[in-house]
């Protein structure tokens, strides 16, 4: 029996430049096109989890990504890391999707792709910091989910045991495949790209699907399919009257030691 794995991957604005990202107050969305897209770092742990299973079992790994056409580069990178094929969901109609509409679209693509045993997702996205997509995909597919998985303890057959982060420690969960798992950074250490991987990826297939291909009504995708709307953006006034310490390094050190003493820290 072949293990069919979907890894959901988000192409996010490179966090090293994303600091400069500011919401456009007119469109109330993020201008993201001129910032390079990279794999959401938690999703690379999701991919690594799938790759480790591939070492043990006959496994087909499909990368699923929704994003602009440029996100195809991120899918290609995942293929170079060892995934077998890629699906890029790209359509202007998908723009502005919140977690709900995103999860709905991804779930429809997973259904269209065929039988699935495990869906891996990173536990959160670095740009929006929401953690909803994995559990919402599971709900739309009628599958169970375990979030924040830090270790796969037992992965033979269809009855798995995983450990997942929980209040004060972790919980040990028994689950039956097919299922959705979202992973934390603790689960593994993702590998770096290899030259041979990049060469192999050239011959791997990336399928592009748009809304029509997925046969989803227009009011279920993108901004229209999103129950939540951004209505406003305001400044947060957290300003303080700041004193910038002057002088030589040593003078600044001495002054700070005094400030720390006055604050009761020393």
């Amino acid at each position: 029996m072949i293990l069919n794995i979907i890894v959901c991957v988000k192409a996010v604005p490179d966090p090293r430049v994303a600091d400069k990202l500011k919401i456009d107050p007119v469109t109330k969305s993020l201008p993201r096109l001129d910032i390079p897209l990279v794999i959401n770092s938690l999703d690379s742990h999701a991919l690594e989890a799938a790759l480790q299973l591939k070492k043990k079992y006959e496994t087909q790994i499909t990368i699923l990504c929704m994003g602009p056409p440029l996100a195809g580069n991120v899918v290609r990178e995942c293929l170079a890391l060892g995934a077998d094929k890629g699906i890029l969901l790209t359509d202007r109609a998908f723009a502005g999707a919140d977690a709900f509409a995103t999860a709905y679209t991804l779930a429809k693509a997973i259904e269209k792709n065929g039988p699935v045993d495990v869906v891996f997702c990173g536990m959160a996205s670095s740009d929006g910091a929401t953690e909803w997509v994995g559990p919402e995909i599971a709900t739309f597919l009628g599958l169970p989910v375990v979030t924040m998985v830090r270790e796969i303890v037992e992965d033979q057959g269809l009855d798995w045991i995983v450990n997942a982060d929980f209040q004060g420690g972790y919980r040990k969960v028994k689950l039956k495949l097919p299922a959705v798992l979202t992973v934390t950074r603790k689960i593994n250490q993702p590998k770096a790209l290899s030259f041979s991987g990049i060469i192999k990826a050239r011959s791997k297939e990336i399928t592009e699907w748009n809304r029509e291909k997925l046969d989803i009504p227009a009011d279920r995708v993108g901004l229209k399919g999103s129950p939540t709307h951004v209505t406003d953006m305001t400044d947060l006034d957290s300003r303080r009257e700041v004193e910038i310490l002057e002088g030589s390094l040593q003078e600044k050190v001495e002054r700070l030691v005094q400030i720390l003493c006055d604050a009761g820290a020393v």
């Binding site: 909803w132 953006m233 020393v266």
Partner: protein, 336 residues
């Protein structure tokens, strides 16, 4: 006209022998929101051996507590909890449903939202009813605060971290009703939580530390990070981090301060190599003294602190550590 409906629900969570603090904080907030809607607060509490703690939710401001008290409900079981809560929401149709950003809440909230086909806002730091009667949910993002509403679907759902809202006064003269919820029998569980394993927490708890030293991307590398760690040890401080530091692999996710991490409340905060993104800064609630060390004069953190030091932290921090050690050689030791 007074709407006697219960229009604000809170999903409360059991902790060892009590209720999670965030659940009580949310009931307090729910009470304010419900007042504006001329309505009342309902709390849902699932677990076992809860008869003594359900009353606390009433003292905090809930008018009705929907209580599921059974051995099968402890530990937390995602599918069973979702089923029970979705049925309750379908029956009572609240306008608003609030959930703590605990490990349980962060899994349960999206399961419920997707079943109810409604929106869900993550880790809000402000909640307010606007003139149209919608719940405005505010989160920090991209250099400002963004406001999110869920205009058409109900309930309007939000998660909130511990410490965002203050603990409500518990008033034992408040009265309310405790209603037993139906627990489905022989519900097929495809995921079964076998046990919750407790882990020892190392270091000083960020939530209760009077002094917090936090490091960010500007610490440069693992060595720079270790220097900041040493400063934290010397000051007997909690050692916090930012998302870039966690992403770089220097710090554990548990140490991340900010909107999607921990909310902290120290007397003194020292931010090192931290640019001052709001996602981090909103996590420091009401610090009396704030200090920043960063080599970028333009870093936004320099507008949000009391004292700023423009220096490369990899040079400044070792010098500071040396000076502190000379001044007080016993600093940072736990025994003399």
């Amino acid at each position: 006209m007074v709407d006697e409906r219960i229009s604000v629900f809170v999903i409360a969570e059991q902790s060892d022998g009590g209720i999670q603090a965030v659940s009580l904080q949310l009931i307090g907030k729910a009470h304010e929101l419900a007042d504006e809607l001329d309505s009342k607060v309902g709390a849902i509490l699932l677990g076992n051996k809860l008869s003594n703690v359900a009353q606390r939710l009433i003292e905090a401001g809930a008018t009705q507590v929907f209580l599921g008290d059974a051995d099968i409900l402890a530990p937390y079981q995602a599918e069973l909890y979702t089923e029970i809560i979705v049925k309750l929401v379908d029956e009572y149709r609240p306008e608003i449903l609030l959930i703590g950003s605990t490990f349980m809440g962060r899994e349960l909230a999206p399961l419920i939202a997707a079943r109810l086909e409604t929106g869900l806002t993550a880790h809000c730091i402000e909640l307010e009813i606007n003139p149209e009667g919608f719940l405005e949910q505010r989160i920090p993002a991209y250099g400002g605060m963004i406001t999110i509403i869920c205009p058409e679907k109900r309930p309007q759902m939000a998660t909130v971290a511990n410490g965002v809202f203050s603990n409500p006064l518990l008033d034992s003269s408040r009265t309310g009703e405790i209603i037993s919820v139906d627990i489905p029998e022989d519900f097929p569980l495809r995921t079964l939580t076998l046990e919750i394993v407790k882990e020892e927490v190392s270091g000083i708890s960020l939530e209760s530390a009077p002094v917090i030293v936090a490091g960010g991307a500007g610490s440069g590398d693992q060595d720079g990070w270790q220097q900041i760690a040493e400063l934290a040890t010397i000051l007997n401080a909690g050692f916090g981090s930012t998302r870039p530091a966690v992403d770089a692999g220097w710090a554990e996710l548990e140490t991340m301060i900010g909107q999607s991490g921990k909310m902290v409340n120290p007397e003194l905060y020292v931010g090192i190599g931290i640019s001052g993104e709001l996602q981090h800064m909103v996590g420091i609630v009401g610090a009396k003294t704030m200090i920043a060390i960063n080599n970028d004069t333009k870093a936004p953190i320099f507008e949000q602190v009391d004292y700023g030091i423009v220096e490369d932290c990899r040079v400044f921090v070792p010098a500071l550590v040396k000076a502190l050690k000379e001044k007080k050689p016993y600093l940072g030791r736990t025994t003399l």
